[in-house]
Subunit: 368 residues, 3 copies
């Protein structure tokens, strides 16, 4: 697979063979309006698209860009099909965004994949390599490791001793799988991910501290994805486990002994402290933090930047730091804004009331 | 040391030789109750332990797990020794958690270590390598670097020109030690750590900005540990220094010219801006930030997510953003919650008072 | 260029040839007071400088350090030139800090640079390498990639298939340029930077989710700098673009489809969510976050730790989470501090007022 490297600077993320408007209409099940022979080679938003690009208009709010767009062909929602705009070749389709997503794979340039083991790789004698694996240059695989069928280990990646990788695992460049880590089938580790490091645990001793030995494993179940430069530590007395289908973005930290359920999403920059318990289907916004030993119930949502200490109930949306129910957070923010305008008269009222109370000889003049 | 790779999937973080309950009791100085010949091969929490696992019960709150645990042997606190529960082989010991920590090293699978210099490593001619070093595949060491006795440099690590590493230093896979950086004895750099980068400093010029040359060093004193993918920049006019015994977790940023004392702990995701001064024994919670030129006094604590601007006094615990004393932060949060319930009547009181004041001809009706 | 590796432990970031006080004075256009023949070899702050170091005193507040400094030579502001202090060799100059910055390049130890392609590098057949490039050990360059004249690719870096690098690009050790990424001239990627990863986008399907193919590019324009372990994802339907001259510190995340203007500064730990739009000259403080589809106007400032949701107007300074104008944030913080002291009397006033209202037969006693 060559990835279309003939002209890697072609605009709009393109580089593949061109496709006609008629063929696009057929593929997405849309109705063609205009010249079906026009060819496009890439995809771009309305304001950036050129004559060789396919674009889309799904909502009226973007119609301003449609008016002057140079896009060759536009996927357009039925209610906007007659809207005035520069592009004359239109494909009317019920859900233009969904149609676009199905087309992205057509315009997406795939990374070329070599097959077999590059001669520079250093692989211990007793490593078990599955069928159809790709091992790129300078990969190092430690003794006793197992690499499942179809797995693809990119350049400079390091797979530690005793690590077990399932089938069709993808380890991108420079990622490190620490010894004895276990990855299920179809797990993806992006560049620079670090999984299975001994966690951050110390015990005090006479002279300073010593590391707690980490006897637990780091287990990523099937279909887990770990973003670039994200870190997942192994457990000390328990395993660290990320449940099947959970997706983790870049620069996320998961500490030792953490248990994460299935089908969760962790946006970039999230930190999860040690021994936290996170249920299935939880969604965590960017840069949010989850405290040590905290629990987050199934299908809960944490807003970006939230800091969860203690327990977040299942199904609820929490925000702020310390996190609390999102509606309480909004209510408090609104209250502060209103009260900030009347601080001085409120102080005056309290002062007047205290003076009145004193004047009538109250037995207790305390004001707080 | 082979690391028990015969069966790397053995449960509970195990893989070592089995040990009998009697031997465990002897090792931790506990009193054996039940069958001392039972063998365990791993450690696990009560709810996950199987017949081959050792577990522990230190607090009544976990007794629910004890009732049905399948653990082969349980370390148990004296006051819970008679508690009803499934495990019949028990070792009564005063501090079950401490006992467990001492046993972890027994069950911990050590990463196998090769000796000597792998032939693929690229080492400049004038590098000084100490006795007993391990240099793994594809390591690159620049000219004039010094590697102390017993140090272990893992695969793909890069040690820059002129860098000086003490004895028994451990550099994990893919870590980068920039040129001229200095690491004391027993320093540990986890995978992907970057130490000694020229810091983020620019000066405006006629056409854009230019980088400030960084003439300062990056010095990590003895026993410093730097987590996976953490970054510590070198200084510009001063050195960046991390004091002896300070431990830094994953994904932490330490900027140029920062001075950190001895025996500090930085949890994951912390950021320290340029020229900050941090005393001895400071503890910083996850994702906290310390501003440029801020000072944090010895033994101060910053809560997770805190943002310290200015100065944090020695020995105090601060939280929030901007950080302030933790008790003030809690008090303010409680005040907001209570006031949010009476915003409207408070506004009404102020409004009524203003009306009354106007009615009696106050010379100044201003309300703020 | 040897980088002065004769004595890499020389103090104060030095290692270069010594320079006399007279020569320093000539270089910065200052007036020499004292012995012009004194030689210095390094730069250090007053409190750390020794007899071989140059230091500086620009403000009276640092005069306490001047009193006892051991610095051999001191750059000093005119108004402080007569100040009592230990250092007797002084160079009087209008702006000592600016003078110091110009001297830093003199004392800065440059990393030695080899020339040509190291024989261990794995470079695909059709890669175009410019004139005067440096390719260090274990670099991997994929098919169809283009490396501009004068570029320097450090050890272990990976340049993906179809990537296009301009002239004088600097890729530090272990950085990864994903396939089809485009870097302008003089772009700098620090160690472990990951640029061009397919972004974090998924669409639900019958059984779980599938990744959205990312047909967009990742484009870094001229003079962009990306810090250590920072991550910039490629676009899905749009490109991710970082404008010319923008500088990004360590551990920053830029998501897919983001557009960043020219001449911006992103401090360490910042996260920018998908499809955000950021104007020219924006400055973003450490650990701040910018939400998905948010817009930040030209020359706006976001304070450290701020979380911007929605739109930040051009030229304004915003802080807090959710971010709002900095003055509003300060005002609210002050209001909370004052009101927290009178919560109970305020509650009492509301309670009294409600009782009075009820007593006079108000038709509606609701208090909120």
């Amino acid at each position: 697979m060559s990835g279309g490297s003939e002209d890697p600077r072609a605009g709009g993320g393109d580089g593949q063979q061109p496709i006609t408007a008629a063929a696009v209409a057929a593929q997405v099940g849309g109705v063609l309006v205009g010249d079906g022979s026009i060819e496009v080679r890439g995809i771009a938003p309305l304001d950036r698209a050129g004559p060789n690009d396919l674009s889309f208009l799904a909502q009226l709010r973007y119609a301003q860009w449609f008016a002057t767009s140079r896009a060759g062909v536009v996927l357009i929602a039925p209610e906007l099909a007659e809207h005035a705009g520069a592009p004359s070749t239109r494909i009317v389709v019920a859900k233009p965004v969904d149609a676009m997503v199905t087309l992205l794979a057509r315009f997406h340039r795939k990374e070329p994949r070599a097959h077999g083991v590059h001669p520079s790789a250093v692989i211990a004698n007793d490593v078990r390599l599955g069928e159809g694996v790709t091992i790129e240059p300078f990969v190092v695989i430690g003794e006793g490791a197992v690499i499942g069928d179809g797995s693809w280990i990119s350049a400079q990646a390091v797979i530690g001793a005793g690590a077990v990788l399932g089938t069709d695992v993808r380890v991108h460049a420079s990622a490190v799988v620490y010894p004895f880590t276990e990855l299920g089938d179809r797990v993806i580790l992006h560049a620079g991910a670090r999984v299975g490091r001994e966690g951050f645990g110390f015990v005090p001793q006479d002279h300073g501290v010593v590391r707690i030995p980490h006897a637990g494993r780091c287990v990523l179940e099937h279909d887990v994805e770990v973003g670039a430069n994200s870190c997942i530590d192994r457990g000390s007395v328990d395993d660290t486990v990320v449940g099947a289908g959970t997706k983790i973005d870049n620069l996320v930290h998961i500490a030792h002994n953490v248990r994460i359920g299935r089908g969760c999403f962790f946006a970039a920059g999230v930190g999860v402290a040690g021994s936290a318990r996170i249920g299935d289907g939880v969604q965590v916004g960017g840069q949010a933090g989850i405290g040590g030993h905290a629990t987050v119930g199934a299908r809960a949502n944490l807003a970006g930047g939230a800091g969860a200490i203690g327990n977040v109930p299942a199904g609820e949306t929490w925000s702020g730091y310390p996190a609390r129910p999102h509606r309480d957070h909004l209510r408090a923010a609104a209250a502060i804004a209103r009260l900030a305008k009347i601080v001085r008269p409120l102080e005056q009222l309290v002062s007047n009331a205290a003076a009145t109370t004193r004047a009538v000889g109250a037995p207790d003049g305390s004001a707080t």
